[in-house]
Protein backbone atom coordinates (compact mmCIF):
# COMPACT_ATOMS: atom_id res chain seq x y z
CA UNK A 1 0.00 0.00 0.00
CA UNK A 2 2.80 2.48 0.68
CA UNK A 3 3.53 2.40 -3.05
CA UNK A 4 0.49 4.67 -3.41
CA UNK A 5 1.63 7.30 -0.89
CA UNK A 6 1.72 10.63 -2.72
CA UNK A 7 1.28 8.99 -6.09
CA UNK A 8 -1.24 8.72 -8.89
CA UNK A 9 -1.11 5.37 -10.58
CA UNK A 10 -3.15 4.29 -13.60
CA UNK A 11 -5.39 1.25 -13.09
CA UNK A 12 -8.25 -0.17 -15.14
CA UNK A 13 -11.72 0.82 -13.95
CA UNK A 14 -12.61 -2.85 -13.61
CA UNK A 15 -9.76 -3.63 -11.19
CA UNK A 16 -10.95 -4.13 -7.61
CA UNK A 17 -9.88 -1.27 -5.38
CA UNK A 18 -8.05 -2.01 -2.10
CA UNK A 19 -9.61 -0.38 0.96
CA UNK A 20 -8.44 3.16 1.62
CA UNK A 21 -7.27 3.94 -1.92
CA UNK A 22 -8.59 7.21 -3.32
CA UNK A 23 -9.92 6.78 -6.85
CA UNK A 24 -10.02 9.78 -9.18
CA UNK A 25 -11.28 9.94 -12.76
CA UNK A 26 -8.57 9.84 -15.42
CA UNK A 27 -10.29 12.55 -17.47
CA UNK A 28 -12.45 15.52 -16.58
CA UNK A 29 -14.09 17.22 -19.59
CA UNK A 30 -11.48 15.77 -21.89
CA UNK A 31 -8.51 16.92 -19.84
CA UNK A 32 -6.10 14.22 -18.74
CA UNK A 33 -5.88 14.31 -14.96
CA UNK A 34 -2.41 12.84 -14.94
CA UNK A 35 -0.71 15.37 -17.23
CA UNK A 36 -3.17 18.26 -17.47
CA UNK A 37 -3.21 18.25 -21.27
CA UNK A 38 -6.04 17.90 -23.74
CA UNK A 39 -4.66 15.81 -26.55
CA UNK A 40 -6.95 12.87 -27.13
CA UNK A 41 -6.81 9.94 -29.51
CA UNK A 42 -9.88 7.78 -30.10
CA UNK A 43 -10.49 4.18 -29.09
CA UNK A 44 -13.50 2.14 -30.25
CA UNK A 45 -16.86 2.60 -28.45
CA UNK A 46 -16.47 6.33 -27.71
CA UNK A 47 -13.47 5.66 -25.50
CA UNK A 48 -10.20 7.60 -25.84
CA UNK A 49 -6.66 7.92 -24.51
CA UNK A 50 -4.17 10.71 -23.82
CA UNK A 51 -1.41 11.26 -26.37
CA UNK A 52 0.53 13.78 -24.30
CA UNK A 53 1.73 11.47 -21.54
CA UNK A 54 1.78 8.25 -23.55
CA UNK A 55 5.49 7.70 -22.96
CA UNK A 56 4.76 6.91 -19.30
CA UNK A 57 2.24 4.23 -20.23
CA UNK A 58 -1.24 4.89 -21.59
CA UNK A 59 -4.04 6.61 -19.65
CA UNK A 60 -7.45 5.98 -21.19
CA UNK A 61 -11.07 6.60 -20.41
CA UNK A 62 -11.16 2.94 -19.35
CA UNK A 63 -8.82 3.83 -16.48
CA UNK A 64 -8.89 5.63 -13.17
CA UNK A 65 -6.09 7.07 -11.03
CA UNK A 66 -5.33 5.52 -7.66
CA UNK A 67 -3.63 7.41 -4.86
CA UNK A 68 -3.09 7.70 -1.13
CA UNK A 69 -2.22 10.96 0.67
CA UNK A 70 1.45 11.44 1.48
CA UNK A 71 1.92 10.64 5.20
CA UNK A 72 5.70 11.31 5.38
CA UNK A 73 6.09 7.99 7.15
CA UNK A 74 9.88 7.94 7.18
CA UNK A 75 12.40 6.72 9.73
CA UNK A 76 14.33 9.98 9.66
CA UNK A 77 16.97 9.06 12.24
CA UNK A 78 18.93 7.05 9.67
CA UNK A 79 19.06 9.86 7.14
CA UNK A 80 22.27 11.64 7.81
CA UNK A 81 24.60 13.40 5.43
CA UNK A 82 27.58 11.11 4.93
CA UNK A 83 29.38 13.47 2.57
CA UNK A 84 32.89 14.27 3.80
CA UNK A 85 33.81 17.22 1.60
CA UNK A 86 33.82 20.90 2.47
CA UNK A 87 32.20 23.84 0.77
CA UNK A 88 33.98 27.03 -0.31
CA UNK A 89 32.98 30.25 1.44
CA UNK A 90 30.69 31.22 -1.48
CA UNK A 91 29.13 27.78 -1.65
CA UNK A 92 28.41 27.99 2.09
CA UNK A 93 26.63 31.32 1.63
CA UNK A 94 24.37 29.86 -1.06
CA UNK A 95 23.82 26.74 0.96
CA UNK A 96 22.70 28.78 3.99
CA UNK A 97 20.36 30.88 1.83
CA UNK A 98 18.73 27.65 0.64
CA UNK A 99 18.17 26.48 4.19
CA UNK A 100 16.46 29.83 4.91
CA UNK A 101 14.25 29.34 1.85
CA UNK A 102 13.33 25.87 3.08
CA UNK A 103 12.19 27.38 6.36
CA UNK A 104 10.03 29.91 4.51
CA UNK A 105 8.72 27.37 1.94
CA UNK A 106 9.49 29.55 -1.05
CA UNK A 107 11.07 29.32 -4.47
CA UNK A 108 14.77 29.86 -5.02
CA UNK A 109 16.91 30.21 -8.14
CA UNK A 110 20.56 29.21 -7.91
CA UNK A 111 22.36 30.84 -10.84
CA UNK A 112 25.69 29.10 -10.72
CA UNK A 113 28.35 29.03 -13.39
CA UNK A 114 29.00 25.54 -14.83
CA UNK A 115 31.48 23.72 -12.63
CA UNK A 116 30.53 25.69 -9.53
CA UNK A 117 29.76 22.52 -7.60
CA UNK A 118 25.99 22.96 -7.57
CA UNK A 119 25.28 19.45 -6.39
CA UNK A 120 27.47 19.68 -3.31
CA UNK A 121 25.83 22.98 -2.37
CA UNK A 122 22.48 21.18 -2.20
CA UNK A 123 23.59 18.58 0.33
CA UNK A 124 23.00 20.66 3.48
CA UNK A 125 19.47 21.71 2.48
CA UNK A 126 18.57 18.15 1.48
CA UNK A 127 19.91 16.92 4.81
CA UNK A 128 17.87 19.54 6.67
CA UNK A 129 14.69 18.51 4.88
CA UNK A 130 15.26 14.80 5.51
CA UNK A 131 15.90 15.45 9.18
CA UNK A 132 12.51 17.14 9.32
CA UNK A 133 10.89 14.02 7.77
CA UNK A 134 10.26 15.88 4.56
CA UNK A 135 10.02 14.11 1.23
CA UNK A 136 12.63 15.34 -1.27
CA UNK A 137 12.82 15.04 -5.07
CA UNK A 138 15.90 15.88 -7.10
CA UNK A 139 14.93 16.31 -10.74
CA UNK A 140 16.48 16.86 -14.11
CA UNK A 141 14.79 16.94 -17.50
CA UNK A 142 17.61 14.78 -18.85
CA UNK A 143 18.21 11.08 -18.26
CA UNK A 144 22.00 11.47 -18.68
CA UNK A 145 22.10 13.91 -15.81
CA UNK A 146 20.11 11.56 -13.55
CA UNK A 147 22.42 8.67 -14.39
CA UNK A 148 25.46 10.78 -13.56
CA UNK A 149 23.95 12.21 -10.36
CA UNK A 150 22.72 8.92 -8.92
CA UNK A 151 26.04 7.56 -7.56
CA UNK A 152 27.05 10.98 -6.23
CA UNK A 153 23.83 11.44 -4.26
CA UNK A 154 23.90 7.83 -3.10
CA UNK A 155 27.41 8.34 -1.66
CA UNK A 156 26.51 11.62 -0.02
CA UNK A 157 23.51 10.03 1.72
CA UNK A 158 24.64 6.45 1.90
CA UNK A 159 22.32 5.38 4.71
CA UNK A 160 19.26 7.02 3.17
CA UNK A 161 17.04 4.86 0.95
CA UNK A 162 16.67 6.50 -2.47
CA UNK A 163 14.53 5.66 -5.52
CA UNK A 164 16.04 6.47 -8.92
CA UNK A 165 13.34 6.82 -11.56
CA UNK A 166 13.47 7.31 -15.32
CA UNK A 167 12.06 5.72 -18.46
CA UNK A 168 8.80 3.83 -18.70
CA UNK A 169 9.44 1.13 -16.13
CA UNK A 170 7.65 1.13 -12.80
CA UNK A 171 9.89 -1.58 -11.34
CA UNK A 172 12.42 0.66 -9.64
CA UNK A 173 9.81 2.35 -7.53
CA UNK A 174 9.67 1.98 -3.78
CA UNK A 175 8.51 4.39 -1.13
CA UNK A 176 11.47 6.53 -0.03
CA UNK A 177 12.02 9.99 1.41
CA UNK A 178 14.63 10.73 -1.25
CA UNK A 179 13.70 10.48 -4.94
CA UNK A 180 15.99 11.14 -7.90
CA UNK A 181 14.05 11.27 -11.14
CA UNK A 182 13.51 12.78 -14.56
CA UNK A 183 10.96 15.58 -14.56
CA UNK A 184 8.57 13.35 -16.54
CA UNK A 185 8.31 10.97 -13.61
CA UNK A 186 6.53 13.65 -11.59
CA UNK A 187 3.40 12.75 -13.58
CA UNK A 188 3.18 9.68 -11.36
CA UNK A 189 3.12 11.73 -8.14
CA UNK A 190 0.45 13.79 -6.44
CA UNK A 191 1.06 16.25 -3.58
CA UNK A 192 4.07 14.23 -2.50
CA UNK A 193 7.09 16.47 -2.08
CA UNK A 194 8.05 19.07 0.51
CA UNK A 195 11.26 19.97 -1.30
CA UNK A 196 11.85 19.84 -5.05
CA UNK A 197 15.24 20.57 -6.56
CA UNK A 198 15.17 20.98 -10.34
CA UNK A 199 18.55 20.82 -12.04
CA UNK A 200 19.18 22.26 -15.52
CA UNK A 201 15.81 23.95 -15.36
CA UNK A 202 16.46 25.84 -18.58
CA UNK A 203 17.19 22.79 -20.69
CA UNK A 204 15.14 20.78 -23.13
CA UNK A 205 12.59 19.29 -22.69
CA UNK A 206 11.56 21.19 -19.57
CA UNK A 207 11.76 24.66 -21.02
CA UNK A 208 8.45 25.79 -22.62
CA UNK A 209 6.82 22.47 -21.84
CA UNK A 210 3.38 22.95 -20.30
CA UNK A 211 3.05 19.30 -19.37
CA UNK A 212 6.28 19.16 -17.38
CA UNK A 213 5.44 22.40 -15.62
CA UNK A 214 2.10 20.84 -14.66
CA UNK A 215 3.86 17.66 -13.55
CA UNK A 216 6.08 19.55 -11.13
CA UNK A 217 3.24 21.69 -9.86
CA UNK A 218 1.06 18.79 -8.89
CA UNK A 219 3.88 16.58 -7.56
CA UNK A 220 4.75 19.13 -4.88
CA UNK A 221 2.64 19.77 -1.83
CA UNK A 222 0.65 23.00 -1.60
CA UNK A 223 3.12 24.14 1.06
CA UNK A 224 6.55 23.33 -0.31
CA UNK A 225 9.94 24.59 -1.39
CA UNK A 226 11.27 24.59 -4.96
CA UNK A 227 14.92 25.18 -5.84
CA UNK A 228 15.89 25.77 -9.48
CA UNK A 229 19.49 25.22 -10.54
CA UNK A 230 20.97 26.58 -13.74
CA UNK A 231 24.04 28.12 -15.30
CA UNK A 232 21.98 29.85 -17.95
CA UNK A 233 18.54 30.96 -16.74
CA UNK A 234 15.79 31.65 -19.24
CA UNK A 235 14.47 35.18 -19.77
CA UNK A 236 11.33 34.38 -17.80
CA UNK A 237 13.37 33.12 -14.87
CA UNK A 238 15.55 36.24 -14.95
CA UNK A 239 12.42 38.44 -14.99
CA UNK A 240 10.95 36.64 -11.99
CA UNK A 241 14.23 37.15 -10.17
CA UNK A 242 14.29 40.88 -11.02
CA UNK A 243 10.73 41.26 -9.76
CA UNK A 244 11.74 39.46 -6.55
CA UNK A 245 9.05 36.82 -7.07
CA UNK A 246 11.73 34.29 -6.36
CA UNK A 247 14.88 34.25 -4.20
CA UNK A 248 18.18 34.27 -6.09
CA UNK A 249 21.72 33.19 -5.29
CA UNK A 250 24.57 33.83 -7.72
CA UNK A 251 27.60 31.65 -7.81
CA UNK A 252 29.87 33.06 -10.49
CA UNK A 253 32.99 31.17 -9.39
CA UNK A 254 33.86 27.61 -10.26
CA UNK A 255 34.74 25.34 -7.37
CA UNK A 256 38.47 25.78 -8.04
CA UNK A 257 38.00 29.59 -8.03
CA UNK A 258 39.13 29.97 -11.65
CA UNK A 259 37.01 31.89 -14.16
CA UNK A 260 35.18 30.33 -17.10
CA UNK A 261 37.29 30.08 -20.25
CA UNK A 262 36.40 32.85 -22.67
CA UNK A 263 34.96 32.16 -26.08
CA UNK A 264 37.52 32.68 -28.89
CA UNK A 265 36.04 33.31 -32.30
CA UNK A 266 37.73 32.56 -35.66
CA UNK A 267 36.32 33.49 -39.06
CA UNK A 268 36.52 30.69 -41.58
CA UNK A 269 35.16 29.80 -45.02
CA UNK A 270 32.60 27.16 -45.85
CA UNK A 271 33.74 24.42 -43.49
CA UNK A 272 31.17 21.88 -44.66
CA UNK A 273 32.90 21.88 -48.06
CA UNK A 274 36.48 21.77 -46.87
CA UNK A 275 38.07 21.73 -43.42
CA UNK A 276 39.48 25.25 -42.85
CA UNK A 277 43.25 25.74 -42.53
CA UNK A 278 42.79 27.33 -39.10
CA UNK A 279 41.01 24.23 -37.87
CA UNK A 280 43.64 21.89 -39.32
CA UNK A 281 46.39 23.86 -37.61
CA UNK A 282 44.54 23.53 -34.30
CA UNK A 283 44.05 19.81 -34.80
CA UNK A 284 47.75 19.32 -35.58
CA UNK A 285 48.52 20.96 -32.25
CA UNK A 286 46.06 18.73 -30.43
CA UNK A 287 47.71 15.72 -32.03
CA UNK A 288 51.19 16.83 -31.00
CA UNK A 289 50.18 17.58 -27.40
CA UNK A 290 47.84 14.56 -27.20
CA UNK A 291 45.22 17.06 -26.05
CA UNK A 292 41.72 15.59 -25.70
CA UNK A 293 38.86 17.60 -27.22
CA UNK A 294 35.23 17.81 -28.33
CA UNK A 295 34.09 19.28 -31.63
CA UNK A 296 30.53 20.56 -31.59
CA UNK A 297 28.69 20.72 -34.93
CA UNK A 298 25.22 22.13 -35.67
CA UNK A 299 23.54 19.14 -37.35
CA UNK A 300 23.35 15.39 -36.88
CA UNK A 301 24.45 14.95 -40.51
CA UNK A 302 27.62 16.96 -39.81
CA UNK A 303 28.87 14.57 -37.14
CA UNK A 304 29.75 11.70 -39.48
CA UNK A 305 31.01 13.92 -42.31
CA UNK A 306 33.33 15.98 -40.14
CA UNK A 307 34.53 12.92 -38.26
CA UNK A 308 35.41 11.18 -41.55
CA UNK A 309 37.31 14.19 -42.84
CA UNK A 310 39.29 14.53 -39.63
CA UNK A 311 40.11 10.83 -39.38
CA UNK A 312 41.32 10.87 -42.99
CA UNK A 313 43.69 13.75 -42.25
CA UNK A 314 44.71 12.40 -38.84
CA UNK A 315 44.49 8.62 -39.04
CA UNK A 316 46.64 8.14 -35.92
CA UNK A 317 44.37 10.26 -33.74
CA UNK A 318 41.54 8.03 -32.46
CA UNK A 319 38.10 9.59 -32.31
CA UNK A 320 34.41 9.01 -32.89
CA UNK A 321 31.14 10.84 -33.56
CA UNK A 322 27.90 10.90 -31.61
CA UNK A 323 24.37 12.37 -31.69
CA UNK A 324 21.08 11.92 -29.85
CA UNK A 325 19.73 9.15 -32.10
CA UNK A 326 22.95 7.13 -31.93
CA UNK A 327 22.27 3.68 -30.44
CA UNK A 328 25.85 3.32 -29.18
CA UNK A 329 25.79 6.80 -27.66
CA UNK A 330 26.41 5.61 -24.08
CA UNK A 331 29.32 3.42 -25.19
CA UNK A 332 30.99 6.19 -27.20
CA UNK A 333 30.70 8.64 -24.32
CA UNK A 334 32.15 5.98 -22.03
CA UNK A 335 35.08 5.44 -24.43
CA UNK A 336 35.76 9.17 -24.26
CA UNK A 337 35.60 9.08 -20.47
CA UNK A 338 37.93 6.10 -20.32
CA UNK A 339 40.37 7.97 -22.59
CA UNK A 340 40.16 5.20 -25.19
CA UNK A 341 39.61 7.91 -27.77
CA UNK A 342 41.10 11.38 -28.01
CA UNK A 343 38.10 13.25 -29.38
CA UNK A 344 34.39 13.16 -30.18
CA UNK A 345 32.50 15.03 -32.89
CA UNK A 346 29.11 15.75 -31.35
CA UNK A 347 25.86 17.67 -31.60
CA UNK A 348 24.57 19.76 -28.70
CA UNK A 349 23.62 16.59 -26.78
CA UNK A 350 26.92 16.82 -24.94
CA UNK A 351 26.42 20.52 -24.20
CA UNK A 352 25.76 19.86 -20.54
CA UNK A 353 25.65 17.26 -17.82
CA UNK A 354 28.66 15.32 -19.05
CA UNK A 355 32.17 15.96 -17.75
CA UNK A 356 35.44 14.98 -19.40
CA UNK A 357 38.32 16.32 -17.29
CA UNK A 358 40.98 18.40 -19.03
CA UNK A 359 39.39 18.74 -22.47
CA UNK A 360 39.41 21.57 -24.99
CA UNK A 361 36.40 22.43 -27.12
CA UNK A 362 35.93 23.53 -30.72
CA UNK A 363 32.60 24.67 -32.16
CA UNK A 364 31.98 24.58 -35.90
CA UNK A 365 29.26 26.90 -37.17
CA UNK A 366 28.65 28.53 -33.78
CA UNK A 367 26.62 31.24 -35.53
CA UNK A 368 24.05 28.72 -36.78
CA UNK A 369 20.59 28.46 -35.29
CA UNK A 370 21.12 25.20 -33.38
CA UNK A 371 23.44 26.91 -30.93
CA UNK A 372 21.55 29.34 -28.71
CA UNK A 373 23.39 31.92 -26.62
CA UNK A 374 22.87 29.70 -23.57
CA UNK A 375 24.02 26.59 -25.43
CA UNK A 376 27.32 28.31 -26.29
CA UNK A 377 27.83 29.28 -22.65
CA UNK A 378 27.11 25.70 -21.59
CA UNK A 379 29.53 24.35 -24.18
CA UNK A 380 32.27 26.70 -22.97
CA UNK A 381 31.53 25.35 -19.51
CA UNK A 382 32.70 21.86 -20.60
CA UNK A 383 36.27 23.19 -20.39
CA UNK A 384 38.40 23.70 -17.28
CA UNK A 385 36.42 21.43 -14.97
CA UNK A 386 39.48 19.73 -13.57
CA UNK A 387 41.39 20.96 -10.55
CA UNK A 388 44.63 19.97 -12.26
CA UNK A 389 43.74 21.82 -15.46
CA UNK A 390 41.31 24.56 -14.48
CA UNK A 391 41.62 26.41 -17.81
CA UNK A 392 41.54 25.43 -21.44
CA UNK A 393 40.65 26.42 -24.97
CA UNK A 394 37.19 27.17 -26.34
CA UNK A 395 37.25 28.18 -29.99
CA UNK A 396 34.25 28.89 -32.21
CA UNK A 397 34.68 28.77 -35.99
CA UNK A 398 32.12 30.94 -37.75
CA UNK A 399 31.47 32.06 -41.30
CA UNK A 400 30.18 35.35 -39.94
CA UNK A 401 29.86 36.81 -36.47
CA UNK A 402 26.33 37.46 -35.23
CA UNK A 403 24.76 39.02 -32.15
CA UNK A 404 24.17 35.68 -30.49
CA UNK A 405 27.86 34.74 -30.53
CA UNK A 406 28.71 38.15 -29.10
CA UNK A 407 26.03 37.79 -26.42
CA UNK A 408 27.49 34.44 -25.35
CA UNK A 409 30.96 36.02 -25.12
CA UNK A 410 29.48 38.85 -23.05
CA UNK A 411 27.60 36.50 -20.72
CA UNK A 412 30.81 34.63 -19.89
CA UNK A 413 32.68 37.90 -19.29
CA UNK A 414 29.92 39.13 -16.99
CA UNK A 415 29.99 35.97 -14.89
CA UNK A 416 33.78 36.19 -14.69
CA UNK A 417 33.62 39.83 -13.60
CA UNK A 418 31.15 38.92 -10.87
CA UNK A 419 33.49 36.12 -9.84
CA UNK A 420 36.49 38.45 -9.76
CA UNK A 421 34.78 40.79 -7.31
CA UNK A 422 34.29 37.79 -5.05
CA UNK A 423 38.04 37.21 -5.04
CA UNK A 424 38.34 34.58 -7.75
CA UNK A 425 41.56 33.94 -9.62
CA UNK A 426 42.14 35.67 -12.94
Amino acid sequence: MNNYYGRQIVNPKIASVPAGIIVRPAFISGICQRCGQQQLAPLPNQQFYCLACLSLGRVSSLDVLWSLPEPNAFAHHEMTLTWQGTLTAQQRLVSQALIDTLGAQQEHLVWAVTGAGKTEMMFPVISHALQAKQRVAILSPRVDVIVELAPRIATAFNTTPMAVLYGTQEENYRYTALVLATTHQMLRFKSAFDLLIIDEVDSFPYVNNAMLAYAVKQAKKAESTVIYLTATPTKIMKKRAERREINVSYLPLRFHQHPLPTLNVSLVGRWRKKLPQKLLRQLRQFQKRMQRFLIFVPRVADTLVIYRKISQRFPDMLGDFVHAGDVSRQQKVQNMRDEKIQYLVTTTILERGVTFPGIDVLILGAEEETFSENALVQIAGRVGRDNKRPTGLVRAYVQHINLKVLAAKRQIKLMNRRGATLGGKR
Binding site: A41, P42, P44, R58
Partner: protein
Protein backbone atom coordinates in the same frame (compact mmCIF):
# COMPACT_ATOMS: atom_id res chain seq x y z
CA UNK B 1 4.28 13.11 -39.11
CA UNK B 2 5.69 9.61 -38.82
CA UNK B 3 3.40 7.48 -36.63
CA UNK B 4 6.33 5.59 -35.19
CA UNK B 5 9.10 8.10 -34.44
CA UNK B 6 6.87 11.21 -34.42
CA UNK B 7 9.34 13.09 -36.61
CA UNK B 8 7.94 15.50 -39.12
CA UNK B 9 8.35 14.34 -42.69
CA UNK B 10 9.03 16.63 -45.56
CA UNK B 11 6.32 15.98 -48.10
CA UNK B 12 8.01 16.02 -51.46
CA UNK B 13 5.47 15.55 -54.19
CA UNK B 14 6.94 14.65 -57.53
CA UNK B 15 5.95 16.31 -60.75
CA UNK B 16 4.09 13.22 -61.91
CA UNK B 17 2.11 13.23 -58.69
CA UNK B 18 1.15 16.88 -59.05
CA UNK B 19 -0.04 16.23 -62.57
CA UNK B 20 -2.10 13.35 -61.27
CA UNK B 21 -0.26 10.88 -63.47
CA UNK B 22 1.09 8.98 -60.53
CA UNK B 23 -0.96 8.15 -57.48
CA UNK B 24 0.35 9.85 -54.39
CA UNK B 25 1.70 7.40 -51.87
CA UNK B 26 -0.04 7.56 -48.53
CA UNK B 27 2.77 6.72 -46.20
CA UNK B 28 2.13 6.63 -42.50
CA UNK B 29 5.73 6.22 -41.42
CA UNK B 30 9.02 7.76 -42.48
CA UNK B 31 11.52 5.98 -44.68
CA UNK B 32 13.96 5.46 -41.84
CA UNK B 33 11.38 3.65 -39.74
CA UNK B 34 10.10 1.70 -42.75
CA UNK B 35 13.53 0.20 -43.44
CA UNK B 36 13.55 -1.35 -39.97
CA UNK B 37 10.74 -3.74 -40.92
CA UNK B 38 11.55 -6.85 -42.97
CA UNK B 39 9.02 -8.02 -45.57
CA UNK B 40 8.60 -11.74 -45.98
CA UNK B 41 9.81 -12.63 -49.46
CA UNK B 42 10.09 -16.42 -49.68
CA UNK B 43 8.31 -18.55 -47.12
CA UNK B 44 6.98 -21.87 -45.91
CA UNK B 45 3.76 -22.61 -47.80
CA UNK B 46 2.18 -23.86 -44.57
CA UNK B 47 2.82 -21.07 -42.08
CA UNK B 48 4.30 -18.18 -44.02
CA UNK B 49 7.62 -18.18 -42.16
CA UNK B 50 10.51 -16.52 -43.99
CA UNK B 51 12.93 -19.20 -45.23
CA UNK B 52 15.12 -20.09 -48.21
CA UNK B 53 12.45 -22.12 -50.05
CA UNK B 54 8.68 -22.53 -50.12
CA UNK B 55 8.52 -26.13 -48.89
CA UNK B 56 6.90 -27.07 -45.61
CA UNK B 57 8.94 -26.20 -42.54
CA UNK B 58 9.57 -28.57 -39.64
CA UNK B 59 6.65 -27.22 -37.60
CA UNK B 60 4.20 -27.50 -40.46
CA UNK B 61 5.26 -31.10 -41.15
CA UNK B 62 4.41 -31.76 -37.54
CA UNK B 63 0.95 -30.17 -37.88
CA UNK B 64 0.39 -32.29 -40.97
CA UNK B 65 1.46 -35.47 -39.16
CA UNK B 66 -1.07 -34.63 -36.45
CA UNK B 67 -3.74 -34.72 -39.15
CA UNK B 68 -4.30 -30.96 -39.40
CA UNK B 69 -5.39 -29.37 -42.65
CA UNK B 70 -2.68 -26.76 -43.17
CA UNK B 71 -3.76 -23.12 -43.09
CA UNK B 72 -1.49 -21.93 -45.90
CA UNK B 73 -0.86 -18.98 -43.68
CA UNK B 74 0.48 -15.71 -45.07
CA UNK B 75 2.29 -13.04 -43.11
CA UNK B 76 3.57 -9.71 -44.38
CA UNK B 77 6.52 -9.14 -42.08
CA UNK B 78 9.15 -10.98 -40.10
CA UNK B 79 8.70 -10.64 -36.35
CA UNK B 80 12.02 -8.82 -35.88
CA UNK B 81 13.06 -6.22 -33.29
CA UNK B 82 11.22 -3.40 -35.04
CA UNK B 83 8.03 -5.49 -35.24
CA UNK B 84 8.44 -6.52 -31.62
CA UNK B 85 8.71 -2.86 -30.57
CA UNK B 86 5.75 -1.96 -32.74
CA UNK B 87 3.60 -4.70 -31.17
CA UNK B 88 4.77 -3.70 -27.72
CA UNK B 89 3.51 -0.17 -28.29
CA UNK B 90 0.39 -1.01 -30.27
CA UNK B 91 -0.87 -3.93 -28.24
CA UNK B 92 0.64 -3.70 -24.79
CA UNK B 93 0.91 0.07 -24.40
CA UNK B 94 -2.39 0.38 -26.27
CA UNK B 95 -1.36 3.03 -28.82
CA UNK B 96 -4.40 2.51 -30.99
CA UNK B 97 -3.26 5.20 -33.47
CA UNK B 98 -0.54 2.79 -34.62
CA UNK B 99 -3.23 0.60 -36.26
CA UNK B 100 -2.90 2.80 -39.36
CA UNK B 101 0.73 1.89 -40.05
CA UNK B 102 0.11 -1.31 -42.02
CA UNK B 103 -3.63 -0.94 -42.70
CA UNK B 104 -3.46 -0.37 -46.47
CA UNK B 105 -1.05 -3.21 -47.04
CA UNK B 106 -3.17 -5.61 -45.00
CA UNK B 107 -6.38 -4.71 -46.83
CA UNK B 108 -4.52 -5.10 -50.12
CA UNK B 109 -3.27 -8.53 -49.04
CA UNK B 110 -6.80 -9.70 -48.17
CA UNK B 111 -8.06 -8.55 -51.56
CA UNK B 112 -5.43 -10.72 -53.25
CA UNK B 113 -6.71 -13.90 -51.59
CA UNK B 114 -9.71 -15.74 -52.99
CA UNK B 115 -12.16 -16.15 -50.15
CA UNK B 116 -15.85 -15.74 -49.33
CA UNK B 117 -15.62 -14.22 -45.87
CA UNK B 118 -13.24 -12.96 -43.23
CA UNK B 119 -13.29 -14.04 -39.57
CA UNK B 120 -11.11 -12.22 -37.04
CA UNK B 121 -9.52 -13.87 -34.01
CA UNK B 122 -11.47 -12.45 -31.02
CA UNK B 123 -10.13 -10.97 -27.79
CA UNK B 124 -11.50 -11.49 -24.30
CA UNK B 125 -13.97 -9.23 -22.55
CA UNK B 126 -11.20 -8.37 -20.10
CA UNK B 127 -8.97 -7.16 -22.93
CA UNK B 128 -11.80 -5.05 -24.34
CA UNK B 129 -12.29 -3.41 -20.95
CA UNK B 130 -8.59 -2.72 -20.38
CA UNK B 131 -6.85 -2.35 -23.76
CA UNK B 132 -10.10 -1.09 -25.23
CA UNK B 133 -9.74 -2.66 -28.66
CA UNK B 134 -9.25 -5.88 -30.58
CA UNK B 135 -5.78 -5.41 -32.07
CA UNK B 136 -6.63 -7.46 -35.15
CA UNK B 137 -9.74 -5.45 -35.96
CA UNK B 138 -7.67 -2.29 -35.58
CA UNK B 139 -5.02 -3.48 -38.02
CA UNK B 140 -7.65 -4.51 -40.59
CA UNK B 141 -9.91 -1.49 -40.03
CA UNK B 142 -12.26 -0.93 -42.94
CA UNK B 143 -12.46 -4.59 -43.91
CA UNK B 144 -15.83 -6.41 -43.87
CA UNK B 145 -15.80 -9.35 -41.51
CA UNK B 146 -18.03 -11.68 -39.51
CA UNK B 147 -17.41 -12.07 -35.79
CA UNK B 148 -18.19 -15.80 -35.67
CA UNK B 149 -15.90 -16.62 -32.76
CA UNK B 150 -15.57 -15.38 -29.21
CA UNK B 151 -13.22 -16.16 -26.35
CA UNK B 152 -14.66 -18.90 -24.15
CA UNK B 153 -15.62 -17.86 -20.62
CA UNK B 154 -12.81 -19.91 -19.08
CA UNK B 155 -10.65 -16.82 -19.43
CA UNK B 156 -8.16 -16.72 -22.25
CA UNK B 157 -4.92 -16.03 -20.46
CA UNK B 158 -2.30 -13.77 -21.89
CA UNK B 159 -0.53 -15.88 -24.46
CA UNK B 160 2.82 -14.17 -24.21
CA UNK B 161 3.22 -15.36 -20.64
CA UNK B 162 3.34 -19.01 -21.63
CA UNK B 163 6.18 -20.95 -23.11
CA UNK B 164 5.71 -22.94 -26.26
CA UNK B 165 4.97 -26.23 -24.52
CA UNK B 166 2.21 -24.75 -22.38
CA UNK B 167 0.71 -22.89 -25.31
CA UNK B 168 0.51 -26.04 -27.36
CA UNK B 169 -1.19 -28.12 -24.71
CA UNK B 170 -3.79 -25.52 -23.73
CA UNK B 171 -7.35 -26.45 -24.55
CA UNK B 172 -9.60 -24.80 -27.15
CA UNK B 173 -9.79 -21.13 -26.14
CA UNK B 174 -12.68 -20.15 -28.43
CA UNK B 175 -16.38 -20.84 -28.83
CA UNK B 176 -18.70 -20.26 -31.76
CA UNK B 177 -20.54 -17.00 -31.19
CA UNK B 178 -22.77 -17.20 -34.20
CA UNK B 179 -23.97 -20.52 -35.59
CA UNK B 180 -24.29 -19.85 -39.30
CA UNK B 181 -23.75 -22.45 -41.95
CA UNK B 182 -20.54 -21.97 -43.90
CA UNK B 183 -21.03 -24.92 -46.18
CA UNK B 184 -19.01 -24.62 -49.36
CA UNK B 185 -17.42 -21.35 -48.18
CA UNK B 186 -13.76 -20.36 -48.18
CA UNK B 187 -12.88 -18.56 -44.97
CA UNK B 188 -9.93 -16.31 -44.13
CA UNK B 189 -8.92 -16.05 -40.48
CA UNK B 190 -7.08 -12.85 -39.61
CA UNK B 191 -4.77 -12.29 -36.63
CA UNK B 192 -2.02 -9.87 -35.60
CA UNK B 193 0.90 -12.27 -35.13
CA UNK B 194 1.40 -15.95 -35.98
CA UNK B 195 3.53 -17.39 -33.18
CA UNK B 196 3.07 -21.13 -32.83
CA UNK B 197 -0.01 -21.35 -35.01
CA UNK B 198 -1.95 -23.02 -32.20
CA UNK B 199 -4.41 -20.14 -31.82
CA UNK B 200 -5.24 -20.12 -35.51
CA UNK B 201 -5.58 -23.93 -35.69
CA UNK B 202 -8.02 -23.87 -32.76
CA UNK B 203 -10.04 -21.22 -34.57
CA UNK B 204 -9.89 -23.15 -37.85
CA UNK B 205 -11.15 -26.28 -36.11
CA UNK B 206 -14.36 -24.47 -35.10
CA UNK B 207 -14.81 -22.85 -38.50
CA UNK B 208 -14.61 -26.28 -40.15
CA UNK B 209 -17.37 -27.54 -37.83
CA UNK B 210 -19.61 -24.86 -39.38
CA UNK B 211 -19.11 -26.59 -42.72
CA UNK B 212 -16.45 -24.40 -44.33
CA UNK B 213 -14.85 -25.79 -47.48
CA UNK B 214 -11.43 -24.46 -46.59
CA UNK B 215 -9.82 -22.13 -44.06
CA UNK B 216 -6.79 -19.94 -44.73
CA UNK B 217 -5.15 -17.36 -42.53
CA UNK B 218 -3.32 -14.07 -42.71
CA UNK B 219 -1.39 -12.06 -40.14
CA UNK B 220 0.73 -8.94 -40.04
CA UNK B 221 3.78 -10.71 -38.67
CA UNK B 222 5.24 -14.17 -38.32
Amino acid sequence: MCLICQKKRRETISLLETLGLLKQKHQTICEQCATQFASITLSCSGCGRQQEHNELCYDCCRWQNQGQLLLTHQALYVYNDAMHDYMQRYKFNGEYALRHVFNRQLIQAVQNIEIDLVVPIPVSQYTLLTRGFNQTLGLFEGLRYQQLLSVSQAKKTDQSRFNRQKRLTRAQPFVIANHTSLSGKSVLLIDDVYTTGRTLYYAAELIYTLGAKNVKSLSLAR
